[in-house]
Amino acid sequence: MASIQYNGIDAAIALILALIESNAEASTADLSRSTGIPRSSLHRIALALSACGVVERSRGRLRAGPLGEVLVAANAERVGRADHARIQRTLRRLKRVPLSQWPMLPATEPLSLSKLAVIPRKGRYRIGFSNASMDNPWRVALVHSVEYAAANLSEHIEWLLVRHADDDPERQAADIEALAEAGTDGLIVSALASPLVHQAIRKAAARGIAIVLVDRGVPPGVAHTSFVTSDDAAIGRMTALWLAEILKGKGSVLILPGLSGAEPAQRRLAAAQAVFQGFPAIHPLAVEWTGWRADRAYDIVSDAISKWGAQINGVWCDSGLQGVGSLKAFADAGYGQGQVPPHTGGDLNLAYKLAIRLHVRLAAVDYPPTMGMMAVEVLFSALRGHWVPRFVSVPSEVILTKGSATRSVKPNLWAEDHVRWDLPDDLILATGLGPAYNPRSFRTHYPGNLYNRSAAQGNIS
């Protein structure tokens, strides 16, 4: 074997790394073999390191010494401080209901975790946000949530660049590539369902850019570090179950899901339809995609009222974004207070306002834009080399109008306490941006924006 000079420092480091590999303890013979350090030299190194508590020696064996416990304690302090700071930034903004009151049982399979293979360069992080669309108030709230989180992490961020794809997959693919070219360390992506976008994400990930998906996922095989969303199946299931039960298991319902190409809408609809199938006397009159647009829902429901009138016993919407259109259609068709059939779908302040004004029984599980804030935090952790969950589900709440609880669906919050009469109709209620948040006057400062203007500005009417 060729002779290799090992100075003491490298030998000490090699011994420490070997003890990690052996998970604390090994014989000097094994350590000598694994490190290539002669036993006599290993003995001298160990003697020196034991004086500092790095190793312990006994009867031909070496183990990690008491300094290991000090390192662990120091790490626990550091982690605790960082965690406390993170809680101040985020968890206080999340609404979490008592565990036993959340109707869905937790998953049981072990968590999947991920860690970046290559940690980006040192210094402040360059972050990009590629946003699929800005065509409704929820999208505005998502952008605000991301920007708010970036502002809280300003000292760690060199810039945040936000790009809106306006539902154009080619544009989103180009945005992702441009952000990658600009030197982004990490990307947050709310992805359009398109092979072009998936390919752009793959290429960015191949460059070592950390990818955190938010709101919408990607097919298996498209590399990403984490996916932050909320429980779409719960939204669909709980609202459908409520509607079926409030109708006492029989009646005809209009089903108005959101955007057909959007994964969250598909999941919610699938969960809702699975519930309705369990109630054979609940008859779906029609399933009409609304694009999460109030005007589209208005037209659909106006036609439905002309066709079916009083046969419509309930309306299932996965969000109040389109739900408000349905409520207005009933009101404009002459349905008075207490006459509009039960509806589902929240998120939007106006949905709650209309439901309360018209005395409509309503159930909703808001889809929280706080996921934008959480996505930034997950990305920040990943960029610092920490393990992160591959999937993060942001909590939500079941919201009912007063007196609307059913056998299986109880409220975590009454709509009458959730609504904000003092704030605009287009306010999304679960942003976590505080009680004074107003989408029309939202201002924020983070590295990369100008004059404290939000990147969502221009999309708020």
Partner: protein
């Protein structure tokens, strides 16, 4: 192979010790505190950094690195849990609103290795629920403990137990080298 002397070996230990007392110091400060030449300190820190035992910020401040934390976890026999444990504890705390801790040993010999405290609560007193993290042979290496806030209902605790089991199963995978890629 041969090792030429143990010069600097003591300095390796001293630097790691020093970094447990002060989380962010410059190399010059390290040299002063350890009583070693500045050039030696730079040399050693460079090698420690390459091995992951220390980290340096862009501004040149030095702190304990991930490999050193893994070494600390190795002291307790679960080096592989360093990294995953932090992520799992944070997740468990976030899901259950209970404080979550990774604990080594038992009874009077217990040591809290890492903790994710429920908002505003530093104390680990309160009603608890623990489950063991076992190696492939079934030996208990550590346990995960939840400490519930006052007023947590039996139903909440029962639900939290499901999350706790999931966390334990996750850590057992990493402990036994069966993590997914």
């Amino acid at each position: 192979m041969s090792v030429t002397g143990t010069t600097g070996v003591m300095a390796v230990g001293q630097i790691l010790q020093c970094l447990t007392q002060e989380s962010m110091v410059t190399v010059t400060e390290l040299a002063q505190r350890c009583g070693i030449a500045r050039s030696t300190a730079f040399d050693i820190v460079g090698r420690l950094e390459a091995a992951g035992l220390v980290e340096r910020t862009a501004g040149g401040q030095v702190s304990v690195g991930p490999a050193a934390i893994a070494f600390g976890f190795a002291r307790f026999g679960f080096a592989r849990l360093h990294g995953p444990a932090e992520a799992v504890l944070m997740w468990l705390r976030d899901e259950t609103c209970a404080s979550a801790a990774l604990v080594s040993g038992s009874g009077g010999e217990e040591k809290i290795i890492l903790m994710a405290a429920a908002d505003g609560r530093k104390s680990m007193s309160g009603e608890t629920l623990s489950k063991a993290v076992r190696d492939a042979s079934g030996k208990e290496m550590a346990h995960l403990r939840l400490t519930f806030p006052p007023g947590a209902s039996r139903a909440d605790r029962a639900r939290a137990a499901l999350h706790l089991q999931r966390a334990v199963d996750t850590l057992a995978r990493y402990l036994n080298g069966r993590e997914d890629s």
